[in-house]
């Protein structure tokens, strides 16, 4: 597997997972730390893209099994372990989506609401806004939706997303710009403009 040889997070910051990766390469039992750290982010990525819990669990499982099998081949050559792992998840998602003929089994509207809401008075408007955003997100082309989910759900940088999707950092920024413009337009038409 090849990923774009660049540093993540826009700087020369070291990969925070590197010590755990080295430990896992020496002793597979140490992979557990990486599994615990990235289970939810990988699962969330799969779930937002597939819209179905069972399919998301299948894709997550295949991702971690493949990552564990290939952990010895991971090299710190610019791309972070996180980008490498999400690249595997991306490939698993592509397989699932191909098998599905790129049709979503479930609308993203079915995705759970945020778990904690500090302001009960704002619950209704926030839920309405959330539904509008998810509807709009569901209508984005696959590549733009992937950029939005990786950026806003999983917190990856443009460089890391580039490594995941096999695109340049600049291309990811352009995709992100277009995705947000499209979302803003859809929300304006739908009357659910963001209130932040």
């Amino acid at each position: 597997m090849t990923v774009e040889p660049r540093r993540a997070r826009g700087s020369e910051a070291p990969d925070p997972d590197l010590a755990d990766v080295r430990a896992a390469q020496r002793d597979r039992a140490a992979f557990g730390a990486l599994y615990r750290r990235y289970l939810d982010p990988v699962y969330g990525y799969c779930f937002y893209l597939l819209g179905d819990h069972h399919d998301a669990e299948d894709a997550t499982e295949r991702t971690f099994v493949a990552a564990l099998a290939a952990i010895d081949r991971y090299r710190d050559e610019g791309a972070t372990f996180r980008a490498w792992l999400f690249r595997i998840a991306h490939n698993q998602l592509a397989n699932t989506l191909r098998a599905r003929h790129r049709q979503h089994a479930t609308s993203l509207e079915a995705i759970a609401e945020p778990r904690s809401l500090a302001d009960p008075a704002g619950l209704l408007s926030l839920a309405e806004e959330a539904r509008g955003l998810r509807r709009a997100l569901d209508q984005l082309p696959d590549d733009r939706r992937q950029v939005v989910v990786l950026r806003f759900v999983d917190g990856l940088s443009a460089r890391e997303i580039g490594a995941v999707l096999g695109r340049s950092e600049g291309a990811v920024r352009v995709l992100q710009h277009r995705a947000l413009r499209q979302l803003a337009e859809m929300l304006a038409i739908g009357g659910h403009g963001p209130t932040v």
């Binding site: 826009g10 002793d27 597979r28 039992a29 992979f31 557990g32 599994y35 615990r36 289970l39 939810d40 982010p41 699962y43 969330g44 779930f47 937002y48 819990h53 998301a56 669990e57 997550t60 499982e61 971690f64 099994v65 564990l68 099998a69 995705i111 759970a112 609401e113 945020p114 778990r115 926030l126 806004e129 959330a130 955003l133 998810r134 997100l137 939005v148 989910v149 950026r151 806003f152 759900v153 999983d154 917190g155 940088s157 443009a158 600049g170 920024r173 352009v174 992100q176 710009h177 947000l180 413009r181 979302l183 803003a184 929300l187 963001p194 209130t195 932040v196």
Partner: protein
């Protein structure tokens, strides 16, 4: 020589700030986002507030953890072992309660029959 950042780069910089917790207007101003693109920073902030991370089910976590550990015969510690312990304890308590109730009903019926 320095090159001027593109609108997409300015937006990305503003998004970095939003993801770090800055208010949308502050992030847009600091990154020098154009007035026409400020609505996009608002959208970014709304996405950050709305798109929650989905959590994997504890049962799935345990099953996959066991499978991965089985690959190498190693054992891992689960993130939330308490959940499994509580689930097991509640399940056992329900089972014991149900059995006790069934025994009590059975004895009551037996006593009524032999009065």
């Amino acid at each position: 020589m320095t090159t001027r950042p593109t609108p997409a780069e300015r937006l990305d910089q503003a998004i970095d700030s939003v993801l770090a917790g800055s208010p949308a207007r502050v992030a847009a101003a600091v990154a020098g986002v154009s007035p026409t693109d400020r609505a996009l920073v608002d959208s970014a902030a709304a996405l950050r507030a709305t798109l929650a991370t989905s959590l994997a089910a504890p049962r799935f976590e345990a099953r996959l953890g066991a499978r991965l550990a089985g690959v190498d015969g190693t054992r891992w510690i689960l993130r939330h072992p308490g959940r499994l312990i509580v689930t097991g304890a509640v399940g056992s308590a329900v089972g014991v309660g149900f059995t006790a109730y069934a025994v009590w009903r059975s004895r009551s019926a037996h006593r009524l029959l032999h009065r």
